[in-house]
Structure formats: C-alpha cells, structure tokens
Symmetry: C2
C-alpha cells in the first residue's frame, strides 16, 4: 500500500486506513507527517469539541451519550481519548466498564485512545495530528477527551472549537482547580452525576467563581452555561447538545472561530518547531563526551545549569550545520 492510496482511502472515510494513519503519527513516523501534509487541505470541516475534567467525573459516559445523540441526528463521530485513566485506555487496570461498547460495531463511530506517555509535547503533537486525520476522514463531530489539569493536556484541549469542562458534585478537587485558575475558563460547564444532593450548591459555587473572575456576564457575547446531566441514563443530554450547537452558531456568527483557529494553529506551528529543536538537541548530546564533561562540572557545583545551557547552545552554533539539519528532521 503506497502512502498515496492510504491518503485516498482515508479521505474516502475508510476506517482501517484511519486507524493505520493515527498509528503512524502516534509512532512519530515520517510517513505519518507526510500523510497529514497530503490530507491537510481537506480538513477544517469537523466540529471539534474538547472535554476536560478530573478522572472519575464521567467524561467517557458523557461522550458515549453525546455520541448516541449525534448518531441519531445522522452525523458521524470520532472520539479521541487522551485520558490515561480512561476506560478506553486502561479499562482492565481500573476495573471500569467500557461504556462505549454499544458503539463499537457502528461504522459511523470511530474511537481511538492515545496514551499520555513519552516526551513532553510529543503527545500533544500526535493528538493534534490525529484530530486532523479524523477531520479529513469525514468525521463530522470530533470529541477529544483529556484529564485536564496538566499543561500538555490543556494545550490539546485549547485546539478545540468548543471547550467543555466536566465536573461532578462533591468533588472539592475539581472546583478548587477551577477557582485556582489551573483550568482555562471553558465555553460550557457540565455537572455530571447531577442526582446528588450537593448539585445545586455546586452550581452556585461555580457561578461564584465565574463571578469573581468577572465571567458571569457575557464574554464576547457568550455566557458560559452550566448544564446538569446524568450521562449514565441520558438525562440532560438533549440540553447539552442544544448548547453545543448554540455555541457553534455563536462562534461561526461572530467570526470567532477564525480567530481561535488562527491562534491555535500559530501555537501548533511553534510547538512542533520547539519539539524538533529539543529532539535534535537530545540527539546531539546523547553520545557527546563534551556534554558529559559539562554535566560533571554542574554536578560538582563548579558550573551552574544555565551557564551549561549557554555552553551547549554555543557549541551547537559553532558546529554550523546544526540548525539547518533541524529543519529536515
């Protein structure tokens, strides 16, 4: 199978081609990058939603319920799970049930998990490429799920058109993270497992946090809605679907989607460039006795880490072709 036919099959919506393509980008294979280059002109059609929130709040169940609703509307769905605690990734270890089982045989649903491992930045890069592949393969709705407290996870979610924060009542961790500004302010907040006595207290707390941050009013014409759901039995899902559609209409109408995508693509280009520079640097020093000598100096407190970094970058400059090679990797 040549890459050209892989791209053609992907663009035709072939599931096996899609699976193979995502593996290529996940493994950071040159063919993967080449493929994304080839299919990129056919992207931009999907509605991309990012779901973030602590483990255990029911993000997977919620995405399962949304998938069902979108399928009933006749739309195709792609799910990308970057949550290492997700049942898609680690189900057996966690003893959780696989909640999307009912969709596994539906050709209109493509589910893929990616492990949150490897070099920092590496996963974000791969996940963004995978989202492009789902988009090019004609998935109309793309749901990206992460545990949303780390910077790398937030970077991924930031690239969605609509950002959904999922919380549950009685979870102090979650709301404190929101209070503390660890999480970006999302476009939509969902309180799942809302059949809990503390649900309304939590709604008030969140309103309070948004108010402190001066976000209880409208931000660019959009007031962040707080939706109560019980994803396990489908309650509140219709309302959530309605709000997601409303947000999409809003960003389309205001032209905000172009500004978002431009900003996100800018940071994506920079992130890829930085990751390559770092990888190149790591390769350069891997078997470099001069770097080992520098490091000895640092360990013995004769040279500080920043000066060692300066020396390292200076050597790279002197070796001349170094930075040129970078661009080819």
């Amino acid at each position: 199978m040549t890459e050209s036919t892989l791209a053609q099959r992907l663009l035709a919506g072939d599931r096996r081609a899609l699976a193979r393509a995502i593996t290529l980008v996940e493994d950071d294979r040159p063919e993967g990058w080449e493929l994304v280059r080839e299919i990129y002109p056919h992207t931009g059609g999907a509605a991309v939603y990012g779901f973030t929130g602590p483990p255990g709040v029911g993000k997977s169940t919620l995405i399962g319920a949304l998938t069902k609703a979108r399928r009933q509307q006749g739309r195709t769905v792609g799910v990308l799970s970057i949550d290492p605690s997700s049942p898609f990734t680690h189900g057996a270890l966690l003893g959780d049930r696989i909640r999307l089982t009912e969709h596994f045989l539906d050709e209109g649903v493509f589910i893929r998990s990616m492990a949150n491992r490897g070099a920092l930045g590496g996963l974000s890069e791969a996940a963004l490429q995978a989202a492009l592949l789902l988009d090019a393969a004609g998935r109309q709705e793309v749901f990206v799920e992460t545990v949303g407290v780390g910077q790398a996870e937030i970077d991924i979610i930031d690239h969605a058109d609509t950002i959904v924060l999922v919380l549950m009542p009685g979870s102090g961790d979650s709301i404190q993270a929101l209070k503390a500004g660890v999480m970006e302010i999302p476009d939509v907040i969902v309180i799942n497992k809302a059949d809990h006595p503390l649900t309304d207290t939590m709604v008030r707390e969140i309103r309070g946090v948004l108010s402190l941050a001066n976000l209880d009013g409208e931000r660019a014409g959009w007031r962040v809605p707080i939706i109560k759901t019980e994803a396990a039995n489908g309650r509140g899902i219709d309302e959530l679907v309605g709000k997601l559609d409303e947000h999409r209409e809003h960003i389309n109408r205001e032209g905000e989607i172009d500004a978002r995508r431009r900003r996100n693509l800018r940071s994506e280009v920079l992130a890829i460039a930085t990751a390559r520079m770092r990888r190149r640097l790591e390769e350069e020093i891997a078997e470099d006795t001069e770097f080992q000598r520098l490091l000895d100096e640092v360990v013995h407190r004769r040279l500080d880490p920043a000066s060692a970094a300066t020396a390292l970058l200076q050597r790279g400059a002197q070796s001349g072709a170094a930075r040129h090679d970078l661009s080819a990797s």
Copy 2:
C-alpha cells in the same frame, strides 16, 4: 547595591537579599541568572523535599506542621509554593486561612509563593533557580509544594531529593490519578485528614495500586511507606519526620542521591536550553511578515502546520547567526 553585594548578603542568609533574588529569577532578569551563577558553588547542602497532590488535601497545613517540627530541631526552613490554589498564593480569593501565619515572624522560616502562570517551562525554570537560592542562603530544609498533576509541576517536584505524595481519604480523583500513572511513584505517601472512616480502605487501595505496579516490595532497597497524618492537630507528624530522615539516610547511603541529582541536573540544562531556543524563535517571528504569510497559508489549509514549522526552522538556519545569538540570550 551591586550584584556582588547581593550575592554576599544572600550567602550570609539575609532574608531581604533572598526575597530580592527570587524576584529577579521570577522576573527572568539577567541579574537573576548572573546571581545564580555566582552562588551555585555554594549549593547542594539543603535537603530538598517535594510535596505534590491535588488541591484541598492539606499540603500547606502539612508543611506548616513539618516546619514547626524542623524548627524545634533547630533547623532552618525555606518553603516554596508553586501551587496556584495554595493559601500562600491566593488565600484571599479562596477564602482559606493562612496556615503558616505562626511562622511569619520566625527568622528561621522563609516562605515564598510563585504563581503558576506565564510560558510553559518558564515557571519550572524559575522555581528551580529559586530552590538553588534558598539552598545557597543556608536554608537546611527546603519544602517545595505543587499541585501535582500537570507535567510542568511534576518536572519541578522531580528535582527534589525526596518526593512526597499527599492524598486524603474519600477523594476518588487523587487515587485515580495515581492508578492511572499520571503521578510518578513517590518516595513517601501521606494520607492526611486521616480521621476519616475511609482512611484504612484508602491505605489498602494504595497498597493495591503499588502492588499492581510491582512497587509493593522494595525499589532499590526502599519500600514506599504510607503515613497517616492529621496535620491540623499534629498527629502523625513525628512519624513522617522520622520517615523523611530515613529516606534521606537511605539515598545518601546507597549513593542514590548523586544519581538522582545528576539525572535532574541533566534535564534542567536541557529544559533551559529548550526554553531559550523557543523564546528566541518567538522573538524572531513576532514582527515577521514572512511568518504571518506562512500562518495565512496554514489557516487557509494550503500548508500544514508541520511543513510550516519546517519552513520556519529552515529560514532560521539560512539567517545564519540565528543560533549563535541564541546562546547569548
């Protein structure tokens, strides 16, 4: 005040010099880097402990109790809080009490918070430099506190000699994150707020997780202890102090501390070098019309992000002196 006298005053343990020095590195001022270069030969004496765990488990209270215990032993203490939800940082906003109040007038205790904001990597860099400054200023015990789920926070904590994970009973979020491997396996696990009926259940759960990860036995001669504390009333603190001392003796005896510090300093040098390359790249493109043109191509789906990154790095290589300039910034 010249930098030389600032360094001298810092090395003499002057608190105002220490505060000023940390501000310099936090603001990423060249004098800050120069200062760290100057004092670096005098570092390496402090025992550095990293505390991680979700917001709300009582890390600050625990560090307050440990501070008290160490002061009773006559040792000086430095506290560096990188937790954006910490009462040191956002006390008023969160409505939390400042739990270290009793130490504010003690000359032997220096407390400093750093906000988890700004460029990725920027805070890690600054926090590591700040820890060196506390060390050089003669603080014998350095406690570094972060919300430990993100990669940037984990990077900071990784540089400690002893890593302490703080959890509380009944918090599903925390143990799921540990299960999922989001958190590195720590050297010591503390279950705070242990006056809770679910405490012993949680101890069993954690033992189970460690067992699944084949870490219930000894790892390099060290079995991860699980300590129950009630930091608010001091219960369990003596036992924790004992275990921290035991771990320190262990890593000193096994020579593990040298291996740890070498590995950590290596990644610190690389992180600083990478951050500089990225900053330089950002500066290069800030007012660069050619980059804006590239970005337009990406936005209009004519050029994919990875190819744009390649073009960006190639231009850098052609501009020749680019990488040399890097090393001087």
